[in-house]
């Protein structure tokens, strides 16, 4: 090699171009990588946003489909259950002869018991006594329990009355209350 040219040719002719290209590519890769990372983060953000949006749509649909039930259920608690039940039986009694259906006793309690006793959800018990035919009693209970799903039967006792055609019924309901 020519000692006068050796260093300058190696430095400027080989090392510098290679270094220039490596630095250029390195910077390119660095900034490109940085942009890709930012893009990846934003894409993940976007995907999360989309997933949440889809979830929200599904949840909204659920809520919308459940809303009528919830409104109906919440309407049940607008009046005290005892009042509603008494009103119901009074109206029901009007449709029957006293020998077929008659409410003989009603005693509401403010404390929880029976089914309600196991739950922290507020509840109270309603004690009823009736006298009536099997069919009249069953129809009354069917209508009441269908209208007021918050009533949970704790017990029912049916026994023969002195009149052979009717039954005595003692019923205890737990009624759920809102907090």
């Amino acid at each position: 090699m020519n000692p006068h040219y050796k260093e300058s040719v190696i430095v400027f002719g080989l090392v510098a171009p290679v270094l220039l290209v490596v630095i250029g590519l390195g910077l390119g890769v660095h900034f490109q990588g940085k942009m890709e990372n930012t893009y990846e983060a934003r894409r993940n953000h976007h995907q999360t946003f989309k997933i949440l949006e889809r979830e929200r749509e599904a949840l909204e649909q659920n809520v919308q489909s459940q809303a009528p039930h919830m409104h109906r259920w919440m309407a049940l608690f607008e009046q005290p259950a005892a009042t509603t039940v008494n009103t119901f039986f009074r109206e029901f009694q009007n449709e029957f002869d006293a020998t077929h259906f008659q409410q003989t006793a009603f005693r509401p309690t403010s404390t929880a018991g029976g089914i309600g006793g196991a739950s922290k959800q507020p509840s109270s018990q309603l004690h009823f006594s009736f006298r009536g035919t099997f069919r009249a009693l069953q129809t009354a209970f069917l209508e009441l329990e269908t209208r007021m799903p918050q009533l949970q039967l704790d017990s029912i006792k049916l026994s023969r009355a002195s009149n052979q055609n009717v039954l005595n019924a003692n019923v205890v309901y737990t009624t759920w209350q809102k907090q």
Binding site: M1, N2, H4, Y5, E7, S8, V9, F12, G13, L14, P17, V18, L20, V21, G24, L25, G28, V29, F31, Q32, M35, Y39, R42, R43, H46, Q47, F49, L52, R56, L59, E60, N62, V63, Q66, H69, M70, I115, G117, A118, S119, K120, Q121, P122, L137, Q138, T139, F141, L142, P149, Q152, L153, D154, S155, I156, K157, L158, S159, R160, W176, Q179
Partner: protein, 582 residues
């Protein structure tokens, strides 16, 4: 290409610019012939210098063993640069095709001198090192320290046949008078951007190297040969094995060789302990006639033109370098150490007038030109890679920027979904709380189905109780125990029916029928979270009158007590939620 400046006078950057200029504007980095030995080039111009002018000129091309020789006009040593350029351009046109380089080989037959080495009787182990020293610093190794290296050029020439105490070699001495002429030729090559390599050979040495091709005319005993030129003769002494013992030159005076040359040869042969060697004459002058040859008694004149190896129309010296081939199985004279050394070490074809160090240093070496070439290629590839990468990055950037995701910078809030999820959870809690767990009318329907024939039984009392069951305090739901107790009187038919249904399976069927009628799922028995237990207790009715009583209690023979227990665990869908709904 602009005039080159010696790199020692330039800065590092300027040196690089000068080298890059040579790389770009000349063929130095592409054509390796710029750095090849002149004798290795394919196209050669051989010039024979005898006297004051070039007397013969031939061009040759082709491989070593198939060289084609063409006689051309000889250039003048006094020719101007312009005339030389014109001459060389004509010579380039003489070759078939387009030559990629030209070797100008000057055979110096106008002078030949021998300088003695200091301590010439002690043969050194490394002749190559001594040769380098003779070439670069002859004052240090020659007997005569007053010599001028600016005017003379020295090359070592060994005598392999010399015995102990005899001279092992001498320094062949040639004047530098043709140096500028050859430099002018090289400069023309540079201005034409065409590699012209030069070489100045000593004609007698090349002729000496060609002797093995005349071996058939030479004896197998000690001999001496007189190489005769117009202004001098060279005498070479050989042993019987064909090894050179010594070279001597004899200057001619007006009228040819001195008359006492025969006596000189006899004296020297005696001094070299070669008793009466056979004497040969090899006339090589292109000017003198046979009458100019010295008169040597008993001498045999060699006729090299008779050898089949040589082209008789081309001077012997021109063909000499090509005869120096390294043969693996050399025979005869070629097998001697002298001629093997000439073939291997190139002693006979040493360049006496190479380019000066300053001239060589002016241009980068082949290695540096390769570095520049590869660096340039690397830079271009890198630039292309960079452009491709940047283009790809640009396209990718445009795509990314146009992507919907890139512009999605708003905060992602889960709060809305949490509110909705809590609404749904609240719905589920209420749904669970209001589940059809226990209904009075369903229980009455169950009693109705337990006794399909009302005439066969009298029911005294029917009780249904529902109570929660908390097994574990940590449970979120409580199990449910539903119990029906029915007591009454039955005849044998009703008792048979009760016996059938008072099993888990039998009661399960009754539950299934009631569930079908009422649609109430609390009577499902196919869930693993539910168990059903039935217990029937019967006893004799002591008031029974077999012949028929008046009162209903007197018509049925059996008392019974039917107990049905449905156990529902905390895992069941209608288990009671313990946690309150917010």
């Amino acid at each position: 290409m602009e005039t080159l400046i010696h790199p020692a006078q330039l800065s590092a950057w300027q040196r690089f610019l000068q080298a890059r200029g040579l790389h770009r504007e000349t063929t130095r980095s592409k054509n390796p012939d710029w750095y090849s030995n002149a004798l290795e080039l394919e196209c050669q111009l051989h010039l024979f210098l005898e006297g004051e002018e070039v007397s013969e000129a031939c061009i040759c091309s082709g491989k070593e063993d198939r060289k084609n020789w063409v006689r051309v006009s000889a250039p003048s040593l006094q020719a101007s640069e312009e005339e030389l350029r014109e001459y060389l351009s004509e010579i380039r046109g003489e070759f078939n095709g387009k030559p990629r380089s030209l070797a100008v080989i000057l055979h110096l037959a106008d002078e030949f001198a021998i300088s003695e080495l200091a301590r010439a009787n002690e043969r050194p182990e490394d002749l190559r090192a001594l040769s380098d020293q003779v070439t670069s610093a002859p004052q240090e190794v020659l007997e005569d320290h007053r010599i001028s290296t600016e005017e003379l050029s020295f090359r070592l020439f060994p005598y392999p046949g010399a015995g102990p105490g005899q001279l092992f070699g001498s320094a062949i001495t040639i004047s530098r008078k043709c140096h500028d002429y050859l430099r002018q030729i090289r400069t023309i090559g540079e201005t034409l951007n065409f590699p012209i390599r030069t070489c100045a050979l000593s004609a007698p040495l090349v002729a000496l190297a060609a002797l093995p091709q005349l071996a058939s005319q030479l004896p197998s005993e000690p001999f001496s040969i007189l190489f005769s030129y117009s202004s001098f003769s060279v005498i070479a002494f050989f042993t019987a094995e064909g090894d050179l013992v010594m070279l001597r030159s004899v200057r001619h005076h007006a009228g040819g060789a001195p008359p006492h040359v025969g006596r000189i040869m006899q004296t020297m042969a005696a001094a070299l302990e070669l008793p009466e060697p056979l004497v040969y004459i090899l006339p090589l002058s292109h000017e003198e006639t046979d009458s100019d040859l010295p008169e040597l008694p008993g001498a045999v004149t060699l006729n090299w033109r008779e050898s089949a190896w040589f082209d008789p129309e081309v001077p012997l010296e021109f063909q000499g370098p090509a005869s120096l081939r390294i043969a693996e199985q050399a025979e005869g004279l070629a097998a001697s150490e002298t001629f093997r050394g000439m073939a291997e070490q190139k002693w006979a074809t040493q360049d006496f007038l190479p380019a000066t160090v300053e001239e060589v240093e002016l241009c980068p070496s082949q290695t540096e030109m390769k570095i520049l070439r590869y660096g340039s290629v690397a830079l271009r590839i890198g630039a292309v890679a960079l452009v491709l990468f940047l283009s790809w990055t640009g396209i990718r950037t445009v795509r990314i920027i146009n992507d919907e995701a890139w512009n999605q910078t708003g905060e992602v809030s889960r709060e809305g979904n949490k509110v909705l999820a809590s609404e749904i959870r609240r719905y589920e809690q209420w749904s669970s709380l209001l589940a059809d767990r226990s209904k009075a009318w369903v229980s009455m329907e169950l009693v109705n189905h337990l006794f399909p024939d009302p005439e066969s039984v009298i029911l005294s009392e029917t009780t249904h109780r529902v109570r929660p069951e908390v097994v574990n305090e940590k449970d979120k739901k409580a199990g449910v125990i539903k119990e029906w107790t029915i007591t009454g009187l039955a005849n044998s038919e009703a008792l048979n029916h009760l016996t059938v249904i008072s099993t888990t399976e039998g009661m399960g069927k009754v539950f299934g029928i009631v569930r079908k009628h009422t649609g109430n799922d609390s009577l499902r028995t196919d869930l693993s979270s539910r168990t059903l237990l039935v217990n029937l207790l019967t006893s004799e009715n002591k008031r029974f009158k077999p012949d028929g009583g008046m009162k209903p209690e007197e018509r049925f023979s059996q008392n019974f007590r039917l107990t049905i227990t449905q156990r529902i665990t905390a895992e069941d869908p209608i288990a009671i939620p313990i946690v309150s709904i917010p």
